[in-house]
Symmetry: C2
Subunit: 525 residues, 2 copies
């Protein structure tokens, strides 16, 4: 695979006249070749029009056909596993084993959605047969199922250059639902993005799909993304990134003449409640695991534990001592972009004026615009309650410890929380049973409640929820990870009184696809 | 039952100091007793705080308990059937048989949702069991299900004073999901609203629920509704009404510090495509049925056919002649409010400058602020394409005929349409088979596609979709009628690694509720 630096507008390539930009290597601060060219406004428009044209046929393809397409993309990722990971490593400084794993995860997500749409029951077919004898008037035949929304704009995320970027979870779920996708590449990993686009583009063509099913736009600034969200033919937006950028997209989407759903996954502190039994069982081991979790991927996980509430027990001191020791001994980290490193530095300095700075990892060995030191803060519960912004996410290798003296303190802390992707409880089963009220509060604050594991592991399965109340996402009714993510891009359509032959196969009497359906509200046998 | 004119703030009654207003009888223009009192800002706040308090316990009630509560409300509606319909008749001028039917429909909706939550499978339980042997690392146990969103603000609709008002579909589905409800009463039928609130309030108390589960706020203006949508503790909004009011609520909800879902069902022209076979079969009968449909409820149905596209065939003249004759012979109608009548008059006069006024029903017998004449307009397809606002809804007894000369004209007309609740095709099966492309376009424009029936019949069933692309609703992924309406008010929550006993019963291994679940993405046996 070779890099050209040009956008993909269906099966055309973008011009090389737009403003140029290059990726940088966060480990060396070196600029990477080639130059990438920002898409012009007319290229954005053309990509969306092609997507809308493609929708007419792509929305009518069978689940089987879409599955074959998604699997072809997954095959491509596996074929180019090494190249993808190596380029991503250069552009992000994330370690090779993690990136090789992320290629596998990306392929796995594509295959999971392929399985879901090939099997077909995801469309939630419902059949309420006609009741011609009903009084005072007959009931007509009513059948509904989910149909795709229309062209979707996807924004590549900086922190998962493969699994949440060009062919990541948002793209895979939108394509699976039957929606063409226009991706705005993240400018921090344009080379990885172009490789992924080459694989996608090849699959579109190999499977004989309309070329407008997939486009990729490069842009060094905000113009292409803004134009995408405002384009009249775009029907939904998916984004993972900062609260500021996510909220700006939400506001753009809501202010359109025709508002559209805008799924943004943004900012989450992922509170961890350490109950007394957890410290009794092994305070030092838990501290080590916490350190590993909050510095994983240089603390750039959406589910990084950014606030940890600990009880006041005999073992608390050991726990804090071990944690601070881990941080003190740690090397510095290279963050994804110089902008993220600047913001990390600003946010940790601001926090140092509101909380106690307890530990700080070593100074970087050489000066780098990407470097960041791991940071451990401590604050009292009263400070947190007086200033709830202490629970806000700082993107990078930082966490905040809050000591809770009385059992009721956990409830007070939980009640004061904003929305988060996850909330975690560590303890023994007695701790858990004694904290039902805490669990009920946390259920309202987060999309995933975890017992005795750190939140940084996000499985791609059918039951996964990677979503939560604002500001962790724009809409807690949806997830961006797991098979439920497909439901963001579909809407129910009801067919009333249609002859059987004119119905989609999912709704025909003979159930030719053999899918699970509801008949009069009950599972059909 | 007696009327007091006071709001319901949980089990307290509102003050009588707020600005007063009275309902009017649209048939006589007479003012109706008693005086109703607008809720003060602190009463709105108190109702929402009570709802948030109630959420802590109500969200944890079993489906069985919520079903018993909803059935108690349904029983109340049946007990007070006659009083409810009589008061609604005074306040709306809708005919008694329709209103008696609407009481039954309201009770039926409550019972449908009771059945859905008592059975329990609606929560979409998903279980991905732990894989302790998985390499390179074990998979944790993951289980997800839908949980209620939080307090919901419901706005009563003018045109369904029972079935889409205080205890209507929005309230029933939110309560079924486990969300407390604060209703803002529609000021055109406050007496009907108070009766309904008495029934709901009695049921809350009889079933021993937290009194904050239900409140009703009167307001003659916009203040209480605005305060509700902006209240930090409100988690979702449901509204049926005009595009202007609905869009204003959408904008308020989107501009909050924490944006919330705002379900507005607004404006729909409900296009009807008459294919040649339909006219061959009986042009006059079809014209009579169309007249009955577009004047049903004085044309104040959300699904009124407001634009009818007809082919140019030998029978087209007869069809138009019969339709115009029906309109000419028709008496005038009493609309729901003087404001609706004024707006109908303004909108039909404006349309008369853009389309041909073909028929007009008789002048009203006496001068009335509520009176409206049925109106039939005609326009060419070119006029419609040049001015797509001709397809916009006019709320009241009006419809617009558009002649389509060539077969391709139907496609051009369909492609130009905005979003609608419904799109209808009349014809024979050959017509339908010859119009697959038209059906594919209409599927993108409407939530319900109907063959050979008028859209004004909206069944309350499991497969019904009463929703559609903007501007017919705020979000085409949801419906406000039918059992799918419950999904507006719930969000998935994932429990990871929880001991069985600490899981909600829906997710416990033994499946004590016997609900349908997915295990590893497959239906559990």
């Amino acid at each position: 695979m070779e890099l050209t630096g040009l956008s993909f507008i269906g099966n055309y390539r973008g011009s090389s006249t737009g403003a140029g930009f290059q990726a940088a290597n966060p480990q060396t601060d070196a600029t990477l070749q080639p130059v990438f060219h920002s898409a012009a406004p007319e290229e954005v428009d053309r990509a969306v029009r092609l997507a809308a044209d493609a929708f007419a046929t792509y929305s009518q393809t069978s689940g089987k056909r879409r599955a074959a397409f998604l699997r072809r993309v997954a095959d491509g990722f596996e074929t180019y596993r090494q190249e993808l990971a190596e380029r991503a490593h250069l552009e992000t400084a994330l370690p090779m084993p993690r990136l090789l794993g992320e290629v596998g995860r990306t392929a796995g997500q594509l295959r999971m959605f392929a399985g879901v749409v090939e099997e077909g029951s995801w469309v939630q077919a419902r059949i309420d047969p006609a009741l011609p004898e009903r009084q005072p008037q007959p009931r007509p035949d009513l059948r509904s199922m989910l149909r795709p929304l229309g062209p979707v704009a996807v924004f590549g995320a900086s922190n998962f250059p493969l699994a949440f970027s060009v062919a990541g979870g948002d793209t895979a779920s939108a394509l699976a639902a039957g929606c063409p996708v226009v991706v705005k590449a993240h400018p921090a990993h344009p080379g990885t993005s172009e490789f992924a686009a080459q694989i996608l583009s090849e699959a579109v063509s190999a499977k004989g799909l309309h070329p407008g099913v997939f486009s990729l736009l490069f842009d060094r600034g905000l113009d292409a993304g803004t134009a995408l969200v405002q384009h009249p033919l775009v029907c939904a937006v998916a984004f993972t990134g900062s609260l500021r950028a996510g909220r700006a997209l939400m506001d753009l989407a809501a202010a359109r003449p025709r508002p559209i759903p805008c799924f943004t996954e943004m900012s989450s502190g992922n509170p961890v409640f350490v109950l007394p039994g957890a410290l009794r069982k092994g305070a030092a081991a838990l501290a080590k695991s916490l350190y590993a979790s909050f510095t994983l991927g240089a603390g750039q996980f959406c589910t990084k534990p950014g606030i940890v509430l600990v009880p006041d027990t005999d073992e608390t001191g050991d726990f804090i001592l071990e944690l601070a020791g881990q941080v003190d001994l740690s090397d510095s980290f290279a963050l994804l972009t110089a902008g993220i490193a600047r913001e990390y530095s600003r946010a940790t300095q601001a926090r140092a004026s509101q909380a106690t700075l307890s530990a700080h990892s070593k100074e970087p060995e050489h000066t780098s615009a990407f470097a960041a030191r791991a940071t451990l803060f401590e604050a009292s519960l009263d400070k947190l309650l007086a200033n709830p912004s202490l629970a806000d996410e700082i993107f990078g290798p930082d966490t905040l410890l809050v000591q809770c003296g009385k059992p009721k303190d956990f409830l007070r802390a939980a009640a004061a929380l904003d929305g988060h992707l996850t909330a975690t409880l560590f303890g023994d089963e007695e701790d858990l049973a004694a904290n039902r009220e805490l669990i009920h509060i946390l259920e309202q604050k987060a999309g995933r409640l975890i017992f005795n594991a750190f939140p940084t592991g996000v499985e791609v399965t059918h039951a996964m929820v990677h979503g939560g109340p604002y500001p962790s996402t724009s809409d807690p009714r949806f997830t961006s990870v797991g098979s439920l993510a497909i439901y963001r891009f579909a809407r129910p359509v009801c067919f009333q009184g249609f002859p059987d032959a004119m119905l989609p196969p999912e709704l025909q009497d003979a159930n030719p696809l053999g899918i699970a359906r509801l008949r009069d509200g009950k599972p059909e046998m």
